[in-house]
Symmetry: C2
Subunit: 482 residues, 2 copies
């Protein structure tokens, strides 16, 4: 038997090394030849497909349609909105040659598509009757990042970008908030990540946005991850790209817009939030494999155990489970246990000669360690109990992550305390902020913590004195971030 | 009432103008700022989404998984396979600047991904235990074409590309044939396009392939469209990219590979095969809207008819139909009839005061003109009859297209006859070919017809004398192509 198994670095000891090693061992992604580019391997892509399906259904339920816009954006289009150029110019990849000829105008590989989509919208929007336009695009985008890490920061990534056009400021505000809500629901219900939601401070807004709504996750190492954002663009882009329409009074007015995005970056968040020293822990709703059957045999009963394992596999598959049977004969059960725990499969089904005799199987859940995670289930009750257990795991993973987030969300009463928490404990720190970029910048320089979000009124948004300036302020949430 | 409706050019009078006008009027696609680039608008994209779902399910049922590989391919990778460079070099778009710096090596925007995927595979494939690798990718690709036309030939298009690795020549051949079969099934069962299938002549093979299997559709104007191809790559790429594995005898050997692709080009095929003078005709399985309800009201009964139309809409929607209700008050029923016929909606449901009184509705099918396409259906039988009718339309559209293809597939007994058919009637022409590139080239130069495919043995593959050289030959299928 082949027993040699690569030892995973402990998450607690070196989270950065743990992360990279796990991405490789679990075959989630692999490095490409161009710096910062990656292949998303089938096991990682299957997670993304399930996230896509979840989001796409929610987008359609809220009235959106999918479309596809060109990859290449002429430089002159990007320059139309000043903040966009400034923000993205350092990160652009440029096509300068096409069909063996030097191009007259260079073309950027889209870093985000506002500029090119607005050009189409300026033709498609003529009358209030054409509004709202509620379009989403699933695509690849490119940002030439200096320091990259699989999923979390990559030169090319996959995402969806919604781009909507509305008649009034109220409608675009409502849409941006609605889509933040859609993202929030997906995080809670599907990714089991209890994101905090709120608004970005002006300095952290998307270029050209009048308001950016964000979902911020707290990673296992106490750092925040901006997980998805939704922007109210107001009339900034409609003015830059001349998107006007005749309203009901026959006046020509500028439209109001939103954009919102959710990317493969969240797969990095999923690893960092749920993973532990044993490896990945994938929420059942996203798991490519919900349950893996591991037969436990010896030489003299291998045939019988294999037959039973195969029968159970067929039964569970026919019942609609995403199930694997690991019938490999080279590796020991112990090796397989480690392997599938590392891959984050939510449930292991153990089946040995004793179990066959007793007409039972053993269910071992990934989210609860030790004896408490193990249960003996009568064979005829197995499909029902497995379905139930997967639901329990999904809920428990959200509960575990929520407990962690709550334990790592603290209120700082003084600037010293804020610095101490950021330095020693990390996590989210709530503290009053006077609303000026100066104190925000001061804290960022001294602690490397940024304002992750400003809570909505009534949600932790208490008043108090700014810890730096002493001026009146309202609660902001600080953290070091990915 | 607004009655002005743009008049669609007749397909029979000017198929090229008809095509471009229809793409615009039906809001399938719109021109981008860079030559040859297009946005696929929601109505066009919804068709693509349904094609994707259909193919993706078939790929998964045959054991394939999805993954994602980088967009940008270093020049040195493309150069590893000589035929690939030669074929694609004139059509490449090159990224030469990234992050404000001139790149040391320029990067091609993928025209197809063999070169970059093979690089990953050379790492992933080590032992016979790693095989087969059965991976598919949904993505965008770019080919800097000189003359473009929406869907049919565009600088950027969407497609899927399957890339598989196998231990033996038999397995890669079997896989390439299997995927041609998957495509064929999708064409017949879902797109209602009766493609001819066979092999390409050596000169028409994919660069680097040892065999290319093709699905060729016959368009309404008698020209052929290469609709999807599947390639047996043999060991050409594994040798160029060093994809080797230890076989069961512990010998290191080169792997065998396939690739296969199906693109948004087929939407162009769908328009050309099924469209008529009234506009699009979308097969029910792909139609974004299966049925549209058009109320027929006058001033005094508008309220009642509207209420009934809304009730019917809810009922059909709840029954799972993709249904629209056109309750617009600005346009006449006649205008709406034209509009939805132009958009290719398979069934129109008319509902007027008389129908309400008689507890019935009128179903009008798009695929049969005149009175024969119209039936009165009791209101309570409507959902059942509609479901049935959609199935009948799907079948009938395939039957109509098959009849057209058969009527336009002819056997030429002499070279003069071949030229005459190609010139005057177009369509597929069957004629013996001696297998040499010389006669193939000769016919191409004189008639603009190319060999679309060589039928499989036993399928029209009769022997005879080459019409040009007089030497013994086997049947080839000639046509002018898009």
């Amino acid at each position: 038997m082949v027993e040699a198994v690569e030892k995973l670095t402990k998450k607690s000891e070196d989270p950065s090394k743990w992360y990279l090693q796990l991405v490789r061992m679990a075959k989630l992604a692999d490095y490409g030849p161009v710096r910062g580019t990656f292949a998303i391997r089938p096991y990682g892509y299957a997670i993304w497909e399930r996230i896509q399906a979840d989001l796409d259904a929610r987008f359609k339920a809220t009235g959106h349609q999918n479309a596809y816009f060109p990859l290449l954006i002429p430089e002159s289009y990007l320059k139309k909105e000043a903040e966009v150029v400034e923000a993205f110019d350092p990160e652009l990849a440029w096509v300068t040659i096409g069909g063996r000829e030097e191009l007259e105008e260079r073309l950027a590989v889209r870093p985000t598509s506002e500029s090119i989509i607005c050009d189409f919208y300026s033709n498609w929007v003529q009358s209030y009757r054409d509004l709202p336009i509620l379009i989403n695009q699933w695509c690849n985008v490119m940002r030439w990042e200096k320091v990259t890490r699989p999923f979390l920061r990559t030169a090319e990534f996959l995402w969806q970008e919604g781009h909507t056009v509305h008649a009034t400021a109220e409608e675009s505000r409502e849409e941006a908030l609605k889509m933040q809500g859609v993202y929030r629901d997906t995080f809670y219900e599907t990714l089991a990540i209890p994101v905090m939601t709120g608004m970005k401070s002006p300095s952290e807004r998307f270029p050209g946005a009048i308001e950016t709504f964000t979902c911020e996750g707290l990673m296992g190492d106490g750092r925040a991850l901006q997980a998805a954002t939704s922007h109210d663009l107001g009339q900034n882009f409609s003015r830059a790209f001349d998107i006007t329409f005749l309203d009901e009074q026959q006046d020509r007015v500028y439209a109001h817009q939103t954009s919102w995005g959710f990317s493969t970056r969240v797969i990095g968040g999923l690893i960092l939030v749920h993973g532990d020293d044993r490896g990945l822990k994938i929420p059942p709703k996203l798991a490519p494999t919900e349950a893996v059957i591991v037969p436990i045999w010896r030489g003299n009963n291998k045939g019988e155990v294999r037959r039973e394992a195969e029968a159970l596999f067929s039964e569970l598959k026919d019942a609609g489970f995403r199930v694997e049977a690991d019938l490999d004969e080279e590796h020991s059960p112990g090796y397989k246990f480690n392997e599938h725990e590392m891959r984050g499969v939510p449930v292991r089904v153990e089946l040995g000669p004793k179990d066959i005799e007793n007409e039972q199987a053993v269910l071992v859940r990934r989210d609860v360690a030790g004896k408490e995670g193990k249960e003996f289930v009568p064979r005829n009750a197995l499909p029902g109990r497995l379905r139930e257990l997967l639901g329990e795991i999904q809920e428990n993973m959200l509960a575990q992550a929520t407990e962690f987030r709550e334990a790592n969300t603290r209120r700082a009463e003084s600037y010293g305390e804020l610095k101490e928490i950021i330095e020693e404990k990390r996590g989210f720190v709530l503290a009053p902020w006077d609303g000026t970029p100066e104190t925000e910048q001061h804290i960022k320089e001294e602690t490397k913590a940024t304002i992750r979000l400003l809570p909505f009124a009534g949600e932790a948004g208490e008043e108090g004195k700014d810890l730096v300036s002493g001026k009146p302020g309202t609660t902001a949430v600080f953290a070091r971030a990915y």
